[in-house]
């Protein structure tokens, strides 16, 4: 399936994949690009490019950390072609939009000749390049629940250079008014994943620093990074903690600003 092609065409040229047929889905009317809100849910059509997503006022207001992530994917030229759904189905462990989507509770709408099903993003990735999609299925939309309470969120990432680079580590943190802190980590395991602190320990800006470090370590220690061309395992683990602290600070500040 070809949509933005910014990953697929590279893979085709390098011979990493050798399909007998490639189908371009951009002109399928049912898969038309665009965003729509219905029943407390924002639906982002599969062919919606990142530039379009970033400019949408609803996304900017409800999901600002997704905007932060989307606007550092690739380059301007890439974002004018690449789609949000494509970033997910490509299933890179370093996909920048995955951490915010996990934190915001996204799911994907999957269609096939057998019908439509919805898969929570937490269940979608199976490993590098792997998803739960079966033969004959494609993602028709990304679904995001409109936040029911005030949420502060922040995206963070480390790259070797600022533009056109894959993340060495990326993450997103959200803190809700009811005291739940969620982190999603990317590029520190075979797939992006979500971890949660529901005790209220991390959400409290005036909490005990020792206890907070312990609570944070309990979350970051669930990462299992590898060493590769971008960084060593040890460096990734250390930087994950640094980025997590920063994102937590920013998320708490943003929650305060929303509550004022």
């Amino acid at each position: 399936m070809l949509c933005g092609g910014t990953d697929l065409i590279v893979a085709l040229r390098k011979g990493k994949i050798t399909p007998s047929m490639v189908v371009d889905i951009k002109r399928v009317p049912e898969l038309a690009a665009g965003l729509g809100e219905k029943g407390g849910e924002l639906r982002i059509g599969a062919t919606t490019v990142l530039t379009h997503l970033i400019a949408d006022e609803r996304v900017r207001s409800w999901f600002p950390a997704l905007v932060e992530a989307a606007q550092v994917v690739g380059s301007i030229q890439i974002r004018n072609r690449a789609t949000l759904a494509g970033n997910l189905v490509n299933a890179s462990p370093a996909a920048d939009t995955a951490p915010p989507l996990l934190v915001y509770g996204a799911s994907v709408e999957v269609v096939s000749s057998r019908g439509t099903r919805t898969v929570a993003l937490t269940d979608f990735f199976t490993g590098p390049g792997g998803t739960v999609l079966e033969a004959g299925e494609l993602v028709s939309a990304v679904l995001l629940p409109v936040p029911a309470e005030a949420v502060g969120a922040a995206f963070g990432r480390m790259t070797r250079r600022r533009g056109v680079d894959l993340a060495t580590v990326n993450l997103c943190c959200s803190v809700s008014a009811s005291g739940v802190t969620r982190f999603a980590f990317g590029a520190v395991g075979p797939r992006p994943f979500l971890v949660t602190d529901e005790t209220g320990t991390l959400a409290d800006p005036l909490g005990d620093p020792g206890q907070q470090e312990e609570a944070l370590a309990a979350l970051t220690s669930q990462a299992a990074p590898i060493s590769n061309v971008r960084a060593s395992r040890e460096y990734r683990q250390q930087m994950l903690t640094v980025l997590a602290r920063r994102a937590l600070d920013t998320a708490r500040q943003r929650l305060q600003e929303r509550l004022v």
Binding site: T6, V10, L12, D24, S75, N80, R81
Partner: protein
């Protein structure tokens, strides 16, 4: 495929694996757009598709069917160079020149959306384009100068 290139309707036969860049260069003789990394990292092949800057090495020719494409050849005024190209020459932004068509297309796209960009915004606007000569300072200065020219003309 049928495509409008720099305002002209063109038609040609293509293989499924041909990219838009292949067709522009090898069928239509528009060799201003360059192939360099062929994986969307360097921006040397940047063209506008329906007004949006894209890497033409990552667009299959068949995907461009029915769309309007503008290449570096399409930016030049009838009487010579565009004001952005003039600015690149005046500030010494052009060294070996290989990246420049892509740089000019990205600069054009930036200025279409932001008529008075800051230095940071210019750098961001050109961040999808690499210059192996390292002439970034002069290139950014050229874009700032071109922005001035656009505002005062």
């Amino acid at each position: 495929m049928r495509v409008v290139v720099n305002g002209r309707e063109l038609e040609t036969d293509v293989a499924p694996h041909h990219t838009l860049l292949d067709v522009l260069r090898d069928r239509f003789g528009l060799t201003g757009s360059k192939e360099c990394c062929a994986e969307g990292e360097c921006g040397a092949c940047t063209v506008l598709m329906d007004g949006h800057a894209v890497n033409s090495c990552l667009v299959l020719a068949v995907e461009a069917e029915g769309h309007a494409v503008t290449t570096i050849e399409g930016l030049s005024d009838v009487d010579g160079l565009s004001h952005i190209q003039d600015a690149f020459l005046a500030t010494g932004g052009v060294q070996c020149g290989f990246c420049i068509p892509g740089m000019v297309m990205s600069a054009h796209y930036l200025l279409e959306h932001n008529s008075a960009p800051t230095t940071t915004e210019i750098r961001e606007g050109l961040s999808g384009n690499l210059c192996r000569c390292g002439g970034y300072n002069q290139i950014c200065a050229a874009v700032a100068s071109a922005a001035q020219t656009r505002l005062t003309r």
